[in-house]
């Protein structure tokens, strides 16, 4: 057991994974001597050497494509893309090759790579450093998309992502990298992929969120409890595939659902969850499913940021609406 922040947990998972498997390679921009701009890879190069912890040239498509080549040779590359805003150059390789390799060679070659990137807003970062575009990745067949929301889940889910035999996009909510410290059992145990985590049981309304927005979602649940509204809080965690079993059984119990996401509203993961509930859970609903999301605007720069990010008040208003329906 060790007290850690979310970024410490990422670092610990990388250390432990590299110790147990010689084929794991960490690569990206400034991940070596500098330990990554957020220090996620701090100390790795000193421990595991320059060949396994690679400072790459500044070329995201190369990094992503190179990982595909490493994986085809049986290595297990863990890529760091410095910010999600720079991931789009790596997207082409990931979409066109990583997700397809197993299928197009009928299992002859596979791509067990992890593409890590910090994502999300709320830290007054420069332009291109605050977006949440997980939905773009969730649309790619043959891959997984995972987002942790606590130090413990960051440790366990990153280990799971690294050990998974298929490509995983692992998005780290950088707003909560250092927000809370938690005692984490760093015993090398992975958490399961492809499932949600029910963080709080409740009977009146189901709140579904992921990443940093769970911080506001749990605050809202606390405030609702003071008014005797019992909210069940689900951490989606697995953005692709979506664990609809957990979601639908929660809705069957509460009959109400609010989905909270800081991503743009249209075509987002929140919309996908709403569609699943509409198709398979409609008859259990007591009120329409509501979404609390960012706007369909360009993510604003620092001065307007707080007007973009969903707030505790917005979540409570949405819950009030579904309770009063």
């Amino acid at each position: 057991m060790k007290d850690m922040t979310l970024i410490d947990a990422v670092n610990n998972a990388l250390f432990d994974a590299m110790a147990e498997d010689q084929d794991i390679i960490v690569l990206g921009e400034d991940v070596g001597a500098n330990g990554g701009v957020f220090r996620a890879t701090e100390g790795l190069q000193a421990e595991y050497g320059r060949e396994r912890v690679i400072d790459t040239p500044l070329a995201e498509s190369l990094i992503s494509g190179m990982a595909i080549g490493l994986a085809a040779q049986g290595m297990k590359p863990v890529v760091e893309i410095q910010f999600m805003g720079f991931i789009y150059a790596a997207f082409d390789q990931f979409l066109c090759h990583a997700g397809r390799m197993r299928n197009r060679t009928r299992g002859r070659l596979t791509c067990p790579m992890v593409l890590r990137a910090p994502y999300g807003g709320g830290i007054h970062a420069p332009e291109h450093h605050s977006e949440s575009t997980e939905a773009i990745f969730a649309h790619i067949p043959g891959i997984r998309v995972v987002i942790p929301s606590s130090p413990g889940r960051a440790y366990g889910l990153l280990l799971a992502a690294i050990r998974d035999p298929d490509p995983v996009v692992f998005l780290e909510p950088k707003r909560i990298y250092r927000l809370q410290t938690e005692s984490v059992d760093n015993n090398g145990q992975a958490l399961p992929l492809d499932v949600c985590f029910t963080l709080r049981e409740g009977s009146d309304v189901t709140l579904i969120s992921w990443g940093a927005m769970l911080y506001e979602t749990l605050q809202a649940a606390d405030q609702l409890a003071e008014r005797n509204i019992s909210a069940e809080v689900i951490d989606l965690a697995s953005i692709k595939p979506i664990d609809k079993t957990t979601i639908l059984s929660s809705i069957a119990k509460t009959g109400r659902c609010v989905i909270i996401s800081e991503a743009a509203r249209s075509g987002g993961v929140a919309s996908e969850i709403a569609a699943i509930i509409a198709e398979e859970g409609l008859m259990t609903l007591l009120a329409p499913v509501m979404r609390v999301t960012g706007y369909d605007t360009i993510m604003p720069l620092a001065k307007m940021e707080k007007y973009y990010m969903p707030s505790v008040e917005q979540i409570i208003t949405a819950v009030n609406n579904v309770m009063e329906f």
Partner: protein, 368 residues
């Protein structure tokens, strides 16, 4: 140091090699070629593989025109580059292809029916039984260059005496993936040989509109790696230069880039009509330089093979391709459920309802 007045000017030179000219005459004697590792037997082998490839290519187009193959990318006129690569590589090396290196792929042990399966719309074609670690063909241009960096990086850190060879076209050299890969290969001194198969056309865009560089090879210089041009229609020059680059890479001397100058005698693919954008005169000129006639002339002139021998090879290749086509046409289709089977190592339960949908479609089709 006086930074204001001193000026550094790098002068570079890109070599060009041709040993076998358009008439099929050698610039060096065959005896010298044996020193370079090119025996009479190897020359015949080159000719046989090029002939085999061209026979395959013609047959593939015929199959497409008669509705038994999907869109196919011909390699007509570029058989020499492929044959040279195939013979220069060792079995344990890894070949990273674009999609026009048919001769190389065949020499490395991919079966003709496997290539036909892929272009015929069957994913199993890329599960070739020969070189298991070779990469499948790459449709998105230049993206394979980045894979080659990763593959050769793995070889290097595992200290294996293996080499990766990657091929891209002239159009690919305009793309970021090409530059990014050349640059990284230089930084890490990887056991990687880049080959630009410059066939003068990227679909409809001619070479001179692709880049104002005098040579495409010189793009390697910016990445700090050595480079040269070779007559891509001269299988002997291609082989000697590619083999030398592979040998150096295997000895730890780092990456190299070779631009092979050839010509796409065919349309881009069977879905293309090159007469829309290029003159027949241009193609007619290119036919005068194509790789097979000159090699055949050399073999005949040097009495390595006679006309009867050539005809015998033609018959052999034709028979073998016919047999491969028969095998291809007899392969039963894969079950549509395999689109789920190879999506993940283990299909998450989340997709079982979608799998059931396709199973239902199969059943409904059976009932019709």
């Amino acid at each position: 140091m006086n930074h204001n007045t001193e000026k550094t000017e790098n002068i570079f030179r890109v070599g060009y090699t041709q040993y076998l000219n358009e008439e099929g005459r050698l610039f060096e004697s065959l005896k010298n070629l044996s020193v370079a590792g090119v025996s009479s037997e190897l020359l015949v082998e080159f000719y046989r593989w090029m002939l085999f490839t061209r026979t395959f290519d013609c047959k593939a187009i015929a199959l497409q025109r008669t509705g038994r193959l999907g869109t196919y990318a011909s390699c007509l006129g570029q058989e020499a580059v492929g044959a040279a690569i195939g013979k220069a590589m060792r079995e344990e090396d890894v070949f990273i292809q674009a999609y026009r290196e048919t001769a190389a792929v065949l020499i490395r042990g991919v079966k003709p029916e496997e290539i036909l399966m892929y272009w015929g719309g069957d994913e199993r074609g890329m599960d070739f039984q020969g070189p298991r670690e070779d990469m499948p063909c790459t449709i998105p241009i230049a993206s394979q260059c980045c894979h080659a960096v990763g593959i050769s990086y793995a070889m290097k850190i595992r200290k294996e005496p293996r080499v990766a060879v990657v091929v891209c076209g002239d159009g690919a050299t305009s793309k970021g993936d090409f530059y990014e890969s050349v640059n990284a290969a230089g930084v890490w001194q990887l056991p990687l040989v880049f080959i630009i198969n410059n066939n003068q056309w990227a679909i409809s865009l001619p070479r001179d509109e692709q880049s104002s560089c005098e040579t495409l090879a010189q793009k390697a210089i910016a990445g700090g790696i050595s480079c040269e041009q070779v007559d891509g229609n001269d299988v002997i020059a291609c082989y000697i230069k590619i083999k030398a680059a592979i040998d150096r890479a295997r000895q730890g001397q780092g990456p190299h880039l070779i631009e092979t100058i050839s010509y796409r005698l065919s349309d881009h693919t069977t879905a293309d009509d090159a007469s829309r954008y290029r003159d027949d005169d241009n193609v007619g000129e290119a036919w005068q330089k194509e790789p097979m006639t000159r090699l055949r002339n050399l073999l005949l002139h040097e009495l390595i093979i006679d006309k009867a021998g050539v005809e015998q090879l033609e018959k052999q290749c034709s028979d073998e391709i016919d047999a491969a086509v028969a095998r291809y046409l007899a392969i039963p289709p894969a079950s549509p459920t395999t689109m789920f089977e190879y999506l993940y190592e283990t299909l998450p339960d989340h997709y079982l309802d979608q799998l059931e949908q396709v199973q239902k479609k199969i059943l409904q089709e059976g009932e019709k």
